[in-house]
Amino acid sequence: MNPWPFVIAAYSVIVGLTAVLLGWAYASMLRAEAAADKLRK
């Protein structure tokens, strides 16, 4: 059994899920802080 498809799949999972987590956290932070700034002005 060729092991490389398994290795690549596992690395893709962690890279993909970490990117989704960071992207979602970053976008929600930007949106919330922009709304808070807008209310202050």
Partner: protein, 238 residues
């Protein structure tokens, strides 16, 4: 920790810390993964699939460390009524759930060529799956309690009770000798040869920094949302 009880003081530290954690985390995680894929020799028994170790172990560590963090914030909230404890707990849960899921998926991918099966109801695998479901419950409970304007005490108690699963996960390979191998990396040493092991600390530190950055970003989002909500409430009352 009490010095950070003031949200304004916390934000002064969290803003630069978020960027630094992101940058350091990206460099270490990418560097560690690249080294793990190209610079280490294959294992004499597992062959190339041993490279999954460099991502599976950090995912398992962060899945468990996330709940340890939730338990600590629960104590902080229930005992000292730390104003940021509930926010920190709610911010940690999605990151912990993602890494617990990553641990389960990468473990399953490793299991197919090594054990010949994607899944087995083994003590370690099952207790890790329970941890993932505990995270989902915590996220749902935290959101529901926040929506009803609660202080998050029920969520904190749930977080504390759920911590019972952590020693079960840790000792599962000793209590039930089924398919998952015993502990190969401990606090005092490792049974893995250094020529294979060395990229692991890089990915461990890298993904831990990225986890920290995600938690800080979620905390900043929750604090900003709370500020907007409080302002709107004042405006409607006036």
């Amino acid at each position: 920790m009490h010095a950070l009880a003031n949200p304004a003081r916390f934000l002064r530290i969290a803003r630069p810390a978020t960027m630094w954690l992101l940058l350091i985390g990206l460099v270490l995680a990418v560097g560690g993964m690249a080294a793990g894929l190209t610079l280490t020799p294959p294992d004499y028994l597992q062959g190339e699939t041993v490279r999954i170790l460099y991502i599976h172990v950090p995912a398992a560590w962060l899945g468990m460390a996330g709940w340890l963090g939730i338990a600590a914030t629960s104590v902080s909230q229930l005992v000292w009524r730390h104003p940021l404890a509930a926010v920190a707990g709610r911010a940690t849960a999605p990151a912990g759930a993602i890494f617990a899921a990553t641990c389960l998926i990468t473990g399953s991918i490793w299991g197919r060529p090594t054990w010949g099966t994607w899944w087995e109801w083994d003590g370690r695998l099952t207790s890790m799956l329970v941890l993932f479901f505990l995270y989902l419950g915590y996220i749902a409970l935290g959101a529901a309690e926040r929506e009803r304007g609660g202080e998050g005490r029920i969520t904190a108690i749930y977080g504390l009770v759920g911590a019972i699963n952590l020693p079960v996960i840790h000792y599962s390979v000793l209590w039930w000798r089924t398919l998952h191998q015993g502990e190969s990396i401990g606090l005092t040493g490792s049974s893995i040869d250094n020529s294979i092991l060395w990229p692991l600390p890089l990915t461990m530190m890298g993904f831990t920094c990225l986890f920290g950055a995600a938690v800080l970003m979620r905390m900043r989002a929750e604090l900003a949302d709370a500020k907007v909500e409080a302002r709107r409430r004042r405006m409607t009352q006036a």
